[in-house]
């Protein structure tokens, strides 16, 4: 009798817990779902409050078409964002892998000092050195170029990339390297053929963080990209939302926000365990 009671109350607790979980999940997902659905409303309907969130007068991609008519259109800032993010990923991986390998496997003068200096840049907010970065970029002819922005983003990612990659290389047993060296592998083949396949989870993690960081960054892009043709998506959308191109079209804002969010969400869902891994590595150390 008592057992039946306790089992009943346990089921009751479970139902209550799951109800809480589902309500909380809906609260967190609602703004995202709301925007993605509303963006598919016809322009006329998108201007009204989103009640209900889904289109009631038929699905349409009108908002995306409208978005494309502002400023330089949707495609150019999207290309800029893709270029900046992909280049940041590529360079972060190359520089991060090389430096991680160097710091993990070699002993050279100033090694510890250099490592500490690179890692401690994380303590200094880049917001406080934006003006000189602007002047440095002007000096070396990268002023107002996407390449300049990429250099800044790669530098901001460096402490994390190098920390992750050094740990990844540290985890590879030295015996593997020694065996390969016996077989006559030189430094370059060693890194490319022997080490890379063993550290690729670390590479995926730093690539993911580099992409999200570059795709989402706002302040540096706002300050450094003064030419409208160099705007990345966040800058172009903020210009639109501030009324720079005339009356604010909220339907176009919904469409733009969707374009900005979807790559992040898809990448996260696909590579979730690498993302959590990166967070854990940062949190544990």
């Amino acid at each position: 009798m008592a057992q039946a009671m306790s089992r009943k109350s346990r089921i009751g607790t479970q139902i209550a817990e799951h109800a809480t979980g589902i309500v909380a999940s809906l609260l967190f997902l609602a703004p995202i779902v709301w925007t993605v659905l509303s963006a598919f409303k016809p322009a006329q309907e998108a201007r009204k409050p989103p009640l209900p969130p889904w289109p009631t007068t038929g699905f349409s991609v009108e908002n995306y078409a409208t978005l494309n008519t502002f400023g330089d259109g949707l495609w150019l800032p999207m290309q800029n964002s893709i270029y900046v993010s992909v280049m940041t990923v590529v360079l972060s991986v190359i520089v991060g892998v090389l430096a991680g390998y160097g710091f993990s496997r070699f002993r050279f003068p100033l090694k510890n000092l250099l490592f500490v200096v690179i890692l401690s840049t994380i303590m200094i907010p880049f917001q406080s050195i934006l003006t000189p970065i602007f002047l440095v970029l002007t000096k070396i002819g990268l002023h107002n170029t996407l390449t300049g922005l990429v250099c800044v983003y790669v530098t901001l990612q460096l402490p994390f990339s190098i920390f992750m990659m050094r740990n990844a290389f540290d985890a590879v047993p030295r015996e593997i390297e020694e065996a390969a060296r016996m077989d006559g592998a030189n430094n370059v083949t060693m890194l490319l053929r022997v080490m890379l396949p063993l550290v690729w989870p670390g590479i995926v993690t730093i690539a993911l963080f580099a992409f999200l960081g570059a795709w989402n960054e706002f302040l540096a892009a706002l300050v450094l990209m003064t030419d409208q043709s160099k705007f990345t998506l966040p800058i172009m959308m903020t210009a639109l939302q501030s009324g720079r191109f005339g009356a604010i079209d909220w339907g176009a804002v919904q469409a733009g926000v969707t374009v900005m969010m979807v790559p992040c969400l898809v990448l996260f869902l696909l590579l979730q365990r690498f993302y959590i891994r990166g967070l854990m590595a940062g949190a544990v150390k």
């Binding site: 979980g21 909380a24 999940s25 409050p49 190359i94 050279f108 999200l212 959308m237 903020t238």
Partner: protein, 308 residues
């Protein structure tokens, strides 16, 4: 290897010199990283300090003025207001984030069906950018085309559509809500790593000794999570002290310049008024505050777990 060995001086043992040479190659591997950090971090950092001692307009010549910029900061009431607002925002938003993230972490830490789904849902807003989230909420908060005011009006909660962004209190709390929505999942994951590092047998032993859930939370969970709590706390504090995107995109510092943060004020001075020297001096002040916070963090993290 042989080629290196042949060109070394014969006086030294071959193996050692070869190995030494090989070690030097490490410098080549780290060179690109070092170059980037020097050009885009160390030099700008030194320049900030140098520029803060100058009157430095965007065009024309800059002039050395010693500490004048710093004296000007002392009298710059709008900067101190911005700093005060940033501090107020940091305290409130950090408390709010923890109040949401801690229960979520406790909730997802226990394995049960659907935990993966819950964890992913709570975390989703954390992967979209602050700019995207701010644009999204600027729409939801809009008085005419948004969600909250029209919904409250339709439900009969308000007599007319209230513009949430027109006065300080509702505008401020709207930002808090948005940031908690965006950041709580992130803090939750950090806290979860701390919870998972607590040995389960400790909890079991306490349960056998008759400790209730609240007593166990206070006597075991909290003390053993001190390092994780310190980390989550400092990430939240540092992020909030540097807040800019949401106040720029949703509120433009308004209403009546009441929500200008420290970074926003520096941005205005440097890139709207183009007082680059003064902006650099303000940056130095912000930098000192942030480094001080980081050092406190390092001290908190370095102390051994569970020992006061």
């Amino acid at each position: 290897m042989t080629s290196i060995a042949t060109i070394t001086t014969p006086a030294r043992p071959r193996k050692l010199v070869g190995a030494g040479r090989r070690q030097w190659i490490g410098l080549l591997y780290v060179a690109p990283a070092v170059a980037l950090v020097v050009v885009f971090f160390i030099i700008p950092l030194c320049m900030t300090a140098w520029m803060s001692l100058h009157n430095w307009p965007l065009m024309g010549v800059h002039r050395f003025i010693g500490l004048d910029n710093y004296w000007a900061i002392l009298r710059d009431t709008r900067f101190w207001n911005a700093l005060r607002f940033t501090g107020y925002y940091t305290v409130i938003v950090t408390i709010a984030i923890f109040a949401v993230a801690f229960p979520l972490a406790l909730f997802i830490e226990r394995p049960r069906p659907l935990t993966g789904f819950y964890r992913t849902s709570f975390f989703m807003p954390a992967v979209i950018g602050f700019a995207s989230a701010s644009l999204l909420w600027s729409w939801l908060l809009n008085v005419d085309a948004g969600l909250f005011s029209p919904a409250a009006f339709e439900l009969g909660l308000t007599e007319k559509k209230v513009n949430l962004l027109a006065t300080f209190q509702p505008a401020f709390w709207s930002i808090i809500a948005m940031v908690v929505w965006k950041v709580a999942g992130f803090t939750m994951i950090i806290l979860m790593t701390g919870l998972q590092s607590i040995p389960p047998d400790l909890q079991e032993a306490a349960m056998i000794d008759g400790a209730g859930p609240f007593a166990r939370f206070r006597a075991i969970t909290l003390p053993l999570m001190r390092r994780t709590l310190a980390l989550a706390l400092i990430l939240s504090v540092a992020g909030s002290v540097l807040a800019f995107d949401q106040f720029y995109i949703i509120l433009r510092g308004g209403p009546r310049n009441q929500t200008l943060t420290a970074v926003y004020w520096i941005f205005n001075q440097s890139f709207v008024s183009f007082k680059l020297g003064y902006g650099a001096a303000l940056s130095m002040v912000l930098l000192v505050i942030l480094v001080a916070l980081s050092l406190i963090q390092l001290r908190l993290l370095r102390q051994p777990e569970g020992v006061d």
